[in-house]
Amino acid sequence: MIRRWFPHPVLSVLLLLIWLLLKQSLAPGTILLGALLGIALARMYDLLRPPKARAHDFHLLGVLFVRVTIDIFRSNLAVARIILARNRSLNSGFVAIPLDLTDRHGLAVLACIITSTPGTIWVSYDSSANILLIHVLDLADEQVWIDTIKRRYERLLLGIFQ
């Protein structure tokens, strides 16, 4: 019964929070409407039959957030420097990374991290061989990028989602 009405409790609470933030108020009417929206949208989301998310380690999620924020700042500056440096021969290219991460939600977070960080873009993912293809703007050494993605992000994501 509870499962039927609240198939994704975390999603419902998040939607309620987003609603309260958007309305900038804590009036009973706002909370009621936000709660109704949260419950209704979570039930609609359930119709898509999404795979269950199992995020267990919220401490690691915090570590990942801080790490990604720092990396986004650093690579913004690096890419800005590349763009502003005129006539510099740029060695960019594709890198294939064998992944251990298979959880869909983990992969989605990894996609957000890789594309949000300037200088790297998620190109495609081979789900049978579990190989991720990314494009790197300033590619000096392929192995360095494989190690960076695997050590800095994938290890944490494995701890969070698998």
């Binding site: 987003i18 933030l21 958007l22 900038q24 986004i72 700042f73 913004n76 890419v79 800005a80 590349i82 763009i83 502003l84 740029l90 960019s92 594709f94 294939a96 996609a111 957000c112 890789i114 594309t115 949000s116 960080t117 300037p118 200088g119 790297t120 873009i121 998620w122 190109v123 495609s124 993912y125 081979d126 789900s127 049978s128 061989a129 190989i131 293809l133 494009h135 703007l137």
Partner: protein, 117 residues
């Protein structure tokens, strides 16, 4: 003139610095879009605007309206959250379309198709 006159000077300077920094990053991103050589390099540049560019704009907006209203106003953070969640979709769509086109043309510059893609 307008309600921005109510902003104390220290806040006005802070907001101006944030907005200019945001505009600067968005501008560098646009310059990169213009200047870089091929498609795959070019798609990297606009991410400057969607990350630090947006971050500084939002910081400016949060500072400005929090000071004006005398209470913390931070729902601009949602803009950042939604951008972070949606940018990868557009970027991946564009890059995959380019990759598909290049592979169809038999280009040697892109990696071969993997069996499970």
């Amino acid at each position: 003139m307008n309600h921005l006159d109510a902003l104390p000077p220290w806040a006005a300077i802070l907001v101006a610095v944030f907005v200019l920094l945001g505009a600067l990053f968005a501008f560098i991103g646009s310059v990169g879009l213009l200047r870089l050589e091929n498609f795959y390099q070019r798609v990297h540049a606009p991410t400057l605007g969607t990350t630090l560019g947006t971050f500084f704009m939002l910081a400016g907006s949060i500072t400005c309206f929090s000071v004006l209203h005398g209470r913390p106003i931070f729902y601009e953070i949602l803009i950042g959250v939604f951008l972070t969640l949606t940018t990868p979709i557009t970027l991946m769509l564009l890059v995959r379309a380019a990759l598909y086109r290049d592979r169809e043309e038999g280009s040697q510059d892109v990696p071969r198709k993997l069996p499970g893609e």
